[in-house]
């Protein structure tokens, strides 16, 4: 194992080894990633409008500027095999990993048919049975949960070929849960891929008030895990580096951490205008929009034409409209018919008949 601090990223070429071990060519992989980026952006623009129109209960939290990182991860992971624990800014990764748009619109709009049935909202959603655990708001706390899922699969003899991935931001790296979770995963040498999207601001707090190391990727060495740095605004770089991290985890080389540098192109939530982000930070290299970069890379490399992309935009806008309209037509939760119990067990239990301790099936 050991630490691999790939600070200078080789410029990726499309004829490099395949990004995934699956059936997708690099060309198809990049088209797939880009579609998820586009789908997330268009969906989130719609969510923002709905929020501003007062149609959404609670907050709206966007992944704008983080789509290249998130979608690359979600596309490279294998649905039905791998685990993906998304965080607040992973709409693109969720979409890429197969979460239906309706899960998003139903949860934001409070439809009882959504996976959270109105009991939780916005980005607090998932399908744990399908390898998408549901985040809580306490940052860093999904790391050990994914580690536990992988640990269980090892005990059950079904870990081979699986990886588990989760995403955090720069802010979460300051939590005890983050430290405990990575250290535990490293001790157990679990196939965990940890994406740190360093978007430079934790809510309003800039990096220099969050950590004092020169680069967060240096922490990988301390944990005894693989470490990669990548320009999170560069789709080709993300595709190259994130897939390599996943490959190493899948090969049994233990946890891999990827620190992606980028800028959050929104407020913390749509209630926040991010006035605290200095103009020079916005104008900096990392302030560029990963979607524009990706579009240019696809066109320049002959992976997609501008016309195709326009058609995709129209198609996705239509999909998004349908997902919003359907969720809006659906029934909200009914407090009079809500099952107001937090326990799966229904007490009182019957008196046991036998003195023999129960043998579980």
């Amino acid at each position: 194992m050991g630490s691999h601090c790939l600070k200078s990223i080789p410029v990726p070429h499309l004829d490099m080894p395949p990004f995934t071990d699956g059936a997708l060519s690099n060309r198809d992989f990049l088209r797939s990633v880009f579609l998820s980026m586009l789908r997330a952006r268009i969906l989130e623009n719609k969510l923002s409008s709905l929020y501003k129109a007062g149609k959404i209960f609670g907050g709206v939290y966007l992944g704008r500027g983080q789509e290249a990182v998130s979608a690359t991860l979600g596309t490279a992971l294998i649905q039905g095999t791998d685990i993906f624990a998304p965080l607040i800014r992973d709409q693109a990764g969720r979409t890429a990993f197969g979460e239906p748009l309706l899960d998003c619109t139903r949860t934001y709009l409070g439809s009882v048919q959504g996976p959270m049935r109105g009991r939780d909202g916005n980005i607090h959603r998932g399908r744990p049975k399908s390898g998408i655990p549901v985040m809580i708001s306490h940052l860093g706390s999904q790391v050990s949960v994914v580690a536990g899922m992988l640990f269980a699969r090892r005990l059950q003899g079904r870990l081979a070929g699986c990886v588990g991935a989760t995403c955090v931001g720069d802010g979460a790296t300051s939590t005890g849960a983050f430290h405990e979770g990575i250290n535990l995963a490293a001790v157990e040498k679990l196939p965990l891929v940890l994406i740190v999207a360093n978007n430079q601001f934790a809510y309003s707090t800039p990096n220099h008030r969050q950590f004092a190391c020169a680069d967060l990727v240096e922490r990988a060495r301390g944990y005894g895990i693989g470490g990669f740095a990548v320009d999170g605004t560069d789709l080709l770089a993300c595709a190259s580096v994130i897939t390599e991290a996943i490959r190493r985890a899948r090969q049994g080389l233990g946890p891999q951490m990827v620190v992606a540098r980028l800028l959050r192109l929104s407020g913390h939530g749509e209630h926040d205008d991010a006035f605290y982000v200095p103009k020079e930070v916005c104008d900096d290299h990392y302030g560029r929009d990963c979607l524009d970069v990706a579009m240019r890379q696809l066109v320049e490399n002959g992976i997609a034409t501008p016309e195709e992309i326009h058609v995709w935009q129209d198609q996705i806008a239509e999909e998004v409209q349908r997902a919003v309209a359907q969720a809006q037509q659906e029934t909200p939760p009914d407090p009079y018919n809500e099952d107001w119990t937090a326990l799966a067990t229904r007490f009182p239990l019957l008196v046991r008949q036998s003195a023999t301790p129960p043998v579980c099936p």
């Binding site: 607090h124 549901v134 050990s144 535990l184 326990l343 007490f347 301790p357």
Partner: protein, 321 residues
């Protein structure tokens, strides 16, 4: 031939590991060392790859257990001391306890908390956390007071689909012995009248059950017949058994070892007042630890928690109201 409370807990874990392939044990120093209190002695050798030492990471220990439960396993996590579960508080109350309500998928984990005070243990190895966890929806909180309950309730805890906080009392570990683990096999959620009486009801749980029985035995010499109810489970709380007892005695004293502000005794008194005010012949009373950290010195510690003497005193006041 006798069985101690801690041996019962060890036996239960052995039974669980033997009978249920979904069960594994995770905690600090529990494998080769057998646990700080030897609750897992020998189990790592008997069940290779089922008993694991964890790093000193209470938060990640529960996170791991939640993840394992999502994947279909039934982990038992040993906190070295209940006090240290404060580090895992977030994962317990926010991750594990909310999961079923939010997603419909239950999280069957059992968190063993070596709880309560012993002489010389001081502020950070003596706490009683049951009231704090019981406050949160989505948790079952168990407080066995007998050897039989320590065994059977741990077996039951693992069978439950919900996260269980299993508060085992450190003072009872080696002090409490029984002829065997056989008992009355009450289900979780049912309290036990451990000593029948007619003049007053003492509601207690965990180690305080034994202190209450001693106090009751003492008052017997003066002709008072004190009924002692062992809650066994503080959540769910069997208020029906408590109300039925108060209906017979007309007087209530709730005794707990936890800090006095709120908590289990306050809940018992509130519910009896709410649902059984007409049954009471005297104002219901509570007796708890003092409102300071648990002190180190045995003399201070003995005066910090309820004792048979202070329970007697509280009962005399209640009986002569």
């Amino acid at each position: 031939m006798s069985v101690t409370y801690i041996e019962a807990i060890r036996e239960a874990q052995e039974t669980l590991l033997r009978n249920d392939p979904r069960v594994f044990l995770y905690g600090q120093d529990i494998a080769t060392f057998g646990g700080a209190f030897k609750a897992t002695k020998g189990l790592a050798e008997m069940f290779p790859q089922r008993v694991f030492d964890s790093p000193i990471s209470e938060d990640a220990m529960i996170g791991l257990a939640v993840g394992a439960a999502i994947e279909g396993l039934r982990p038992i996590v040993e906190m070295q001391f209940a006090d240290f579960s404060s580090i895992a508080f977030n994962q317990i109350v926010n991750q594990a306890a909310t999961h079923f309500y939010r997603t419909g998928m239950p999280i069957p984990i059992t968190v063993r908390l070596p709880s309560g005070g012993t002489a010389g243990s001081g502020p950070f190895h003596s706490q009683s956390m049951e009231g704090i966890y019981a406050q949160y929806p989505g948790l079952v909180v168990l407080t066995p007071a007998t050897v039989s309950d320590a065994y059977h309730m741990l077996i039951d805890a693992v069978a439950l689909d919900d996260p269980v906080i299993f508060c085992e009392h450190k003072f009872l570990y080696r002090w409490l012995k029984a002829k065997s683990i056989n008992g009355d096999l009450l289900p979780i959620g049912q309290a036990r009248i451990i000593r029948p009486g007619k003049h007053a009801t003492v509601v207690a749980y965990s180690a305080m059950v034994h202190e209450a029985v001693r106090a009751a035995d003492h008052l017997q010499q003066d002709g008072w017949n004190i009924e002692v109810v062992d809650l066994r489970s503080v959540k769910p709380l069997d208020i029906d058994t408590v109300l039925a007892s108060v209906a017979r005695t007309g007087r209530l004293l709730a005794v707990g070892e936890a800090f006095p502000w709120g908590g289990v005794t306050a809940e018992v008194v509130a519910r009896v007042t709410e649902e059984g005010f007409h049954l009471l012949d005297a104002p219901p009373q509570r007796l708890n630890a003092r409102d300071t950290p648990v002190p180190y010195h045995p003399k201070l510690w003995a005066a910090h928690r309820p004792t048979p003497e202070s329970i007697c005193q509280a009962l005399r006041k209640l009986l002569t109201f």
